[in-house]
């Protein structure tokens, strides 16, 4: 592809996605200012919000189409040989495509590394075919691939210097330069690759559905006088306030804007800005019912826990700025190619870290500094190497931010509390936007992570997924179950990313977004139908009352549980299964391969496997408890009703996507789209001989284990489902008896593994102790000193007052009184009678002369 066409596609994508990004902000402005002045009963804000995000979805779809066309992915090619043949015919003429090039080269590397064991799959001729799992590494076509590669070099002229050059797989550019502080260029950048486009489509679609759902769910707020049943005034009555319908949608729009900005951001600093904006929006939305003490506390908790993670994020940013001098992910402008971004600097053309030295002296050589030198002469003396441990620290710092945002161990405690927000908020926060941001950033920043960091990520995810799943078993609040399941699923994603299953992690991010938002909306529908009752112990038998919700929920539950009808029945599609099966399958496969390669870390395989069973168990437990059995609370049951159509239609739409978005599994269109953006060093796996010896699996290694992993995971899920049915569906086991028998464990899980108590004991208590010391110091020393000072001032001023009263006042009063009395006594002389004055004059003259005669000496 020539630079002109490349630039053209890039600007098309940029304009489409920028419009989709800014529309919610525009909507937010109108809603927040217009809504304040308009009547509270107006639904207009909701229509504006839906219109904005819906238009954004359409634009994102266009962008997705452009991307698919540019990436030349044959979306229907999964498992089908005919489709590949067609693709092949076209490919000869269109081989300039950047994505294709990239994979050409990846294919070439495959050649160098791989054996010929897959050579029998020789009916595929081009690198394009590598997108299919069965296509990698065709030895006999190596010369053709090499030809393509050389052709690409000839046509571009600058391919050679950066093998992982995002020019091949991504478009990036700068909106606006905000300012330049020394060598730091603060710019608004954009960075578009397959992941960005996909995230845009996913976020806007889910957000649109949630917005529409919220029109129905939030209709209580369409009033001038909203009665909050959860807030009691001092006199026992309920709290009344005006409805905040418009404000809800304004916040939602702002939330979408923030999330889309985060996805579109082209440098890590900009990511941080939108990262914080997402945090603020979640704060506003979780604390939407500010009058409820629990809601405001939960909002504070979410915000503060995120701050803890962001502290690490900031440290990572500082390291990056100090050693790299840039924040941009990558520089892809054909005009100025060679202006290096972070990814181009860390990894060489083969996508590997070039290291020097050993132990503490180990450093990583920074690539492509020459571009920086051109633009910023100050960098001529900048570091060309970064100490390895600092790179690890930067990676850990950025991951710390992701831990906070994605609710990973040990910062996961905010997420369940965040259920205090309205249910649509939970759906948005916990599926497509906020928690997705952390996983997204790990995926986006993947080239910067060293194997040590990846291991940390994997273990954090591993612990998280187990903790979350176990707590979800005993949760009785329907939203709490979903919240812990979210934590658990996020753990899966992190685990997958950590063990080198980049594709699996992000694949699961997308699928999870669909089925988790679906389930949250279903739970919202249930809660709405049951008049804001959230306890599952008071539900039951709701199937008859709300069938649509029930079946939508069933789709989500099956999807998250990873149930499938095995391969044999539908060979072309791999398996007849909902989306969750495919993505979880990929994760388990990655984990299995990793643990095979690194036997020390086999825990990373067994934990997700066990948890897969637990997941199926608790999800079906929730489904059975809610919709089947006898009604536990007759009053609620009697008043329950199916939600209006404005709420059920989004359920159906999301249900469709939750079921079929991942069709085809890892050969399907969704996975292929994600794969266009995968960091190049992952495809063939890599070894790390550093402080921790690790080896990461390649694609075909994972593929080899795919069938095994899929089978095992499916068995686990089926087992979990069966148990759930026995416990809660068929009621063969008395759950209350179980609860009593395992009361210790049950209590431990009910208390959420005592994390809140642990943090209380670790952080809050010590702070209290220190602050009590500070209080004592204040009281004993500072206060005494200040009291002494103030006593001194008071006594001095009392002396001064006495002096004033006794001396100054007395003198002044005496003068005044004297003057006054003299004037009053002399007043009578001033009679106003002119004759008397003349008399006085005459008398005075006489007297004067008499005096003169008497006293003047002759």
């Amino acid at each position: 592809m020539s630079p002109e066409i490349y630039t053209q596609i890039g600007s098309q994508l940029m304009w489409l996605l920028t419009a989709a990004w800014l529309l919610p902000l525009f909507g937010f402005m109108i809603e927040i200012f217009g809504g304040y002045w308009s009547p509270r009963t107006s639904k207009t804000p909701a229509y504006i919000a839906v219109g904005c995000i819906g238009t954004g979805f359409v634009l994102s779809l266009f962008a997705l189409g452009i991307w698919v066309k540019a990436a030349e992915i044959d979306l229907l090619a999964f498992g089908g040989d005919e489709a590949h043949a067609v693709a092949h015919d076209d490919h000869a003429a269109e081989h300039e495509h950047p994505v294709a090039h990239d994979h050409d080269r990846a294919d070439g590397h495959d050649e160098a590394h791989e054996h010929d064991e897959h050579a029998e799959a020789g009916h595929h001729e081009h690198g394009e075919d590598e997108h299919s799992e069965d296509a990698h590494g065709e030895g006999e076509h190596s010369h053709q691939d090499e030809d393509h590669h050389e052709h690409a070099v000839a046509s571009h002229g600058h391919d050679s210097h950066a093998g992982n050059d995002p020019f091949k797989t991504a478009f990036a550019g700068t909106f606006y330069r905000l300012g330049k502080f020394g060598s730091l260029d603060v710019t608004l950048d954009w960075y578009i690759d397959g992941l960005t486009v996909l995230m845009f489509a996913m976020v806007t679609l889910i957000a649109t559905c949630i917005h529409i759902f919220a029109i129905g769910y939030m209709s209580d707020e369409l009033t001038e006088k909203y009665e909050d049943h959860f807030v009691h005034n001092a006199d026992g009555s309920h709290f009344h306030r005006v409805g905040r319908f418009y404000r809800f949608f304004a916040y939602m729009s702002l939330f979408c804007f923030s999330m889309l900005g985060l996805v579109l951001a082209g440098n890590i600093f900009q990511v941080f800005v939108f990262w914080e904006l997402v945090g603020v929006c979640s704060y506003l939305l979780i604390g939407f019912y500010v009058e409820r003490k629990t809601a405001s506390t939960a909002a504070n908790k979410a915000f503060i826990m995120n701050r803890v993670g962001d502290f690490g994020f900031l440290i990572g940013l500082m390291i990056i700025w100090t050693w790299f001098g840039v924040f941009q992910f990558a520089e892809t402008n054909p005009e100025t190619i060679g202006e290096a971004g972070l990814f181009q600097m860390v990894r060489n053309s083969a996508g590997e870290l070039e290291t020097k030295g050993e132990g503490a002296e180990k450093t990583v050589v920074l690539q492509a500094r020459q571009g920086i030198h051109k633009e910023h002469p100050v960098h001529a003396t900048a570091a060309t190497e970064i100490p390895y441990w600092l790179l690890v620290a930067a990676g850990l710092g950025i991951f710390a931010g992701c831990v906070g945002k994605s609710a990973q161990f040990p910062l996961q405690t905010w997420l369940p509390d965040a259920m205090e927000g309205p249910t649509p908020v939970s759906a948005l926060v916990h599926s497509a936007t906020m928690v997705a941001a952390g996983v997204y950033l790990v995926g986006r920043f993947y080239p910067m992570f060293t194997p040590e960091v990846l291991l940390v990520i994997a273990y954090a995810g591993c612990i998280t997924l187990f903790v979350g799943a176990t707590i979800a078993i005993v949760a009785t609040d329907i939203k709490q179950v979903l919240a812990y399941s979210t934590i658990s699923q996020l753990g899966y994603m992190m685990l997958a990313l950590g063990v080198g299953g980049w594709l699996a992690g992000l694949f699961h991010l997308i699928t999870h977004a669909f089925f988790k938002s679906l389930m949250f909306l279903c739970s919202g529908s249930v809660i709405h139908g049951c008049h804001h009752e959230q306890e599952m112990t008071k539900m039951g038998g709701l199937y008859k009352k709300m069938p649509i919700t029930c079946w939508a929920m069933f789709v989500g539950v099956v999807a998250i549980s990873g149930l499938a009808i095995p391969v044999l029945l539908v060979p072309k599609l791999g398996a007849l299964a909902f989306s969750g099966y495919h993505s979880k399958d990929a994760i388990v496969a990655s984990a299995l391969t990793f643990s095979n390669l690194n036997p020390n870390h086999s825990l990373l395989f067994f934990m997700p496997l066990i948890t897969a069973g637990i997941t199926a168990f608790y999800m079906f437990r929730m489904w059975f408890m809610t919709f089947f059995g006898k009604p536990r609370d007759q009053h609620i049951y009697d008043h329950a009703h199916e939600s209006p159509r404005v709420m059920t239609v989004p359920l159906i739409v999301l249900g469709f996507f939750a079921a079929f978005c991942a069709i085809g599994g890892e050969n399907g269109p969704l996975a292929q789209l994600i794969l266009t953006t995968e960091p190049t060093h992952l495809a063939n796996g890599f070894e790390s001989a550093g402080s921790v010896a690790l080896s990461f699996p390649s694609h075909h290694q994972i593929h080899d284990n795919h069938a095994t992993a899929g089978t095992v995971a499916l068995l686990a899920a089926l087992l979990g489902t069966l148990l759930a049915y026995l416990f809660y569906g068929a009621k063969l086991v008395d759950t209350d008896l179980m609860k009593r028998q395992f009361s210790g464990i049950h209590e431990f899980l009910r208390e959420k593994w005592m994390f809140d108590e642990l943090y209380d004991w670790m952080w809050v208590r010590p702070v209290h102790v220190v602050s009590s010391w500070a209080v004592a110091f204040d009281k004993q020393v500072l206060d005494r000193f200040l009291h002494f000072l103030s006593y001194l001032v008071v006594s001095i001023s009392s002396w001064d007052r006495k002096f004033d009263e006794a001396v100054v006042d007395r003198i002044v009063n005496a003068v005044g009184e004297t003057t006054f009395s003299i004037g009053r006594s002399l007043r009578v002389v001033q009679t106003g009678r002119i004759r008397q004055y003349v008399t006085f004059i005459a008398l005075s003259v006489v007297s004067l002369f008499v005096l003169l005669f008497v006293f003047l000496p002759r």
């Binding site: 001033q830 002119i834 004759r835 005459a842």
Partner: protein, 103 residues
Amino acid sequence: MDGISLNLFLGVGALLFVCGVLCMTTKRNAIGVLMGVELVLNGANINLVAFSKYGTLGLDGQIMSLFVIVLAAAEAAVALAIVLSFYNNHRTVDVDQASELNG
């Protein structure tokens, strides 16, 4: 005329002067007061002219008295105007009534 000394003229002037002062002090009629003023000025005039004759003043004394006469006429005109104005306001010429400025 030779037997008439300067002292006699001065004595007449003094008497006229004192009479004028008494007029001013005793008359409640504003015009009476004015007459007293005229008498006072006349007493002074006699002194000036007498000094002109008997002293070394020469014509200067007479010129002084001319000025005094002229100013007296002017004063009388203004004073009468004031009296008329006062009369217009108070319907009386009693100077004791004009005591608004008492203390």
